[in-house]
């Protein structure tokens, strides 16, 4: 546990150092209001990364989250165009359900047919994107077609933080509760640490993986509505490639790709790290074209560092994870 804590402490320090460096030249960046804005901007990434974390914990990977987000967002936007009077609560429920169904499709293929998750989600990723095209005919839905209530919801300010940020906090709290306080949360760790042992303790490994995909899908659905309403536009390629940012946030946050290791707190830090970089680049006047290379380098540094700090605990990640829990 001390190792895990150290990893998160170091990541916190890295973020603070980053903020400090930026602050020396641009003090306005670390003003509380701006930090809140950065958090708000990173909220979708945090929500998605927490879902992805659960999936990776169970030794799977979900590459379809961005496509799920885009499809759910398109469904919500089309629903809003067709029935402008529909309350946001209904849209939210539709978004959650839509995302959950797509997650369940992934989960069922992994659980019932034992197809490797990377294959399943590679396939569903292209299928979900394709369905958006079939639904929308390739057309964009722009802000003027959406109702003010639809686009206004994530921006509504409560105590200085938009609803988007509050929802992220809600998801963080919910996930922290699930992962540390419920049998389901523990079963995710058990499944990833040692599937065989998990079976003997009465955990249905396949079912745990299915549930992980449903959680990831549901959160992607939520992020889908928030994304589309926040940017007030829906089209086929929206959030293209974002699944890699999501995996990156998890990896930087110390979630082991081999399963079983990772915390909610670490994942949030991983997402915030990427969020701070993304928001700081324009401020410190570095071309946004640098962002991709920087986040790539950050992933490599993070994963190298994680493996270094975990090395002393045994050669196989699996063993080290067993000791840690």
């Amino acid at each position: 546990m001390t190792m895990l804590k150290a990893r998160e402490t170091i990541l916190t320090c890295a973020i603070l150092l980053l903020l400090g460096l930026i602050a020396t030249r641009f003090p306005a960046f670390v003003a509380p209001a701006n930090l809140l804005a950065v958090f708000n901007d990173t909220s979708p990434l945090i929500i998605l990364a927490l879902g992805q974390m659960v999936v990776i914990l169970t030794r799977c990977i979900d590459l379809s989250v961005a496509a799920n987000l885009a499809l759910t967002g398109m469904v919500c936007a089309m629903l809003n165009v067709a029935y402008p009077g529909l309350p946001v609560a209904v849209i939210l429920i539709v978004a959650l359900a839509c995302g959950a169904v797509m997650g369940a499709v992934n989960g069922l293929l992994v659980w019932k047919l034992a197809i490797p998750p990377i294959v399943v989600t590679l396939g569903t990723m292209t299928i979900y994107r394709g369905i958006i095209f079939l639904l929308s005919d390739g057309a964009w839905i722009n802000s003027h077609e959406m109702s003010p209530a639809f686009t206004g919801f994530p921006r509504m300010q409560i105590y200085g933080l938009p609803v988007l940020g509050w929802l992220a906090i809600l998801v963080i709290a919910g996930m922290a509760l699930i992962m540390t306080r419920t049998p389901m949360g523990r079963s995710f760790y058990a499944t990833g640490n040692n599937p065989h042992a998990a079976v003997y303790t009465g955990i249905d490994v396949g079912r745990a993986q299915f549930l992980a995909f449903v959680i990831s899908g549901t959160l992607a659905g939520l992020a889908g509505y928030l994304w589309i309403s926040r940017y007030a536009v829906a089209y086929v390629d929206i959030a293209g490639g974002f699944e890699l940012d999501v995996v990156a946030a998890c990896v930087i946050g110390g979630v082991s790709i081999a399963g079983g290791v990772g915390t909610v707190f670490g994942t949030i830090l991983g997402a915030l790290f990427l969020g701070v970089i993304k928001n700081a680049l324009p401020v410190v006047d570095i071309s946004p074209f640098w962002q991709l290379a920087i986040s790539g380098a950050a992933i490599l540094v993070a994963v190298t560092f994680n493996s270094r700090s975990g090395r002393s605990r045994g050669r196989v990640i699996l063993k080290s994870a067993e000791k840690a829990t």
């Binding site: 490797p116 990377i118 396939g123 292209t126 394709g130 079939l134 071309s287 991709l292 790539g296 380098a297």
Partner: protein, 333 residues
């Protein structure tokens, strides 16, 4: 990789004529071949333009570049690793080629630059995986951003144009009649990789590493070296694909070949290579290349948009893997 039994499917000897249907279905290559033939027949009925030598020749561009990478990727996946950075290597190699071209060098230097850049990128991936013992999926997700990121830093939203005419031969030239230069490269590589994987000690070592790295190590195989060579090969093939693609398009943008890594992996998995390592054949990958090429080409002739084609590819990927599993499940039930 925990206790995953790998050699149950995909390595049967293709003698299916006298065996029952279930056995035929179990042989991946023959199932895939049936799919390919089916698509071919469907296509020739669906469009009168399909059975035209020049059209079919054009259609090979749909898969030749991807298949070059897929051969090396097949070996890499059989050995239990994966490289998701191949499309980004193409972007970086193409950018490097553009810079060399702008500096005034000729075709040989441009092509060499592409190949060497690919090799270096592959070597970088290989070093991180074999020397530092990092999981290849994470490393290559990282380098995927890094390599394309470097290309964006250099090029931004600009483009390199004005490659010399002699350079265009690789991607636009014909070897003889309707057979393109790229197709010849593809066919040669298919033979070379089939020989490497199925006829050499190195090929056996690749399977051994994928099935059980620890056992392979104890039986005297230099596991890290095998993996390093495979990463280098994958990088080199990406460099070659970059040469072909750049030559065919005649320009370089940072977004070149974006998303291609997924199509390459799809091709490999569709070809019957176990994504968990340990089994697969080059023959399967070759048929998968044709299947994917035929699907995209046939749908293209029917004016189906590219994004809808990707639904078919996705369904094909999941369907071809799910069907045999569903079949055996139903038989057991």
């Amino acid at each position: 990789m925990s206790s995953i039994t790998t050699n149950t499917t995909g390595r049967n000897i293709p003698d299916q004529l006298s065996t029952p249907t279930s056995r035929v279905l179990k042989s991946w290559e023959s199932l895939l071949l049936l799919v390919a033939i089916g698509i071919f027949i469907l296509n020739s009925f669906a469009s009168p333009y399909f059975l035209d030598a020049w059209n079919l020749s054009d259609a090979t561009f749909n898969f030749t570049e991807k298949a070059m990478i897929a051969f090396a990727m097949a070996l890499l996946i059989i050995a239990g690793e994966i490289d998701l950075s191949v499309a980004s290597i193409i972007a970086l190699a193409s950018t490097a080629m553009g810079m060399v071209m702008q500096a005034g060098f000729g075709t040989p230097a441009i092509m060499a630059t592409g190949l060497v850049t690919g090799l270096l990128c592959g070597g970088f991936n290989g070093l991180l995986v074999t020397r530092l013992g990092l999981p290849s999926i994470v490393v290559t997700i990282g380098t995927m951003s890094l390599f394309r990121g470097i290309s964006y830093i250099i090029l931004g939203d600009g483009a390199f144009r004005g490659y010399p005419d002699s350079f265009a031969v690789v991607g636009q030239g014909y070897a003889f009649w309707v057979i393109t230069v790229e197709f010849v490269i593809f066919a040669l590589l298919a033979v070379i990789y089939a020989v490497i994987l199925h006829r050499t000690n190195f090929g056996r070592a690749v399977y051994a590493v994928g099935n059980n790295p620890t056992a392979a190590l104890f039986s005297g195989i230099r596991v890290a070296r095998v993996k390093m060579i495979l990463f280098l090969l994958t990088g080199l093939m990406s460099g070659l694909a970059a040469v072909c693609l750049t030559s065919r398009l005649g320009s370089t943008r940072s977004s070149i070949a974006s998303g291609m890594e997924l199509e390459v992996v799809t091709m490999v998995v569709l070809g019957g290579v176990n994504i968990l390592g340990g089994s697969g054949t080059i023959g399967g990958v070759v048929i998968a290349a044709f299947v994917m090429g035929l699907v995209t080409f046939g749908l293209g002739l029917l004016n189906v948009p590219g994004i809808v084609m990707s639904i078919f590819i996705g369904l094909l990927l999941i369907g071809v893997i799910a069907l045999p599993r569903l079949w055996s499940k139903l038989r057991r039930a």
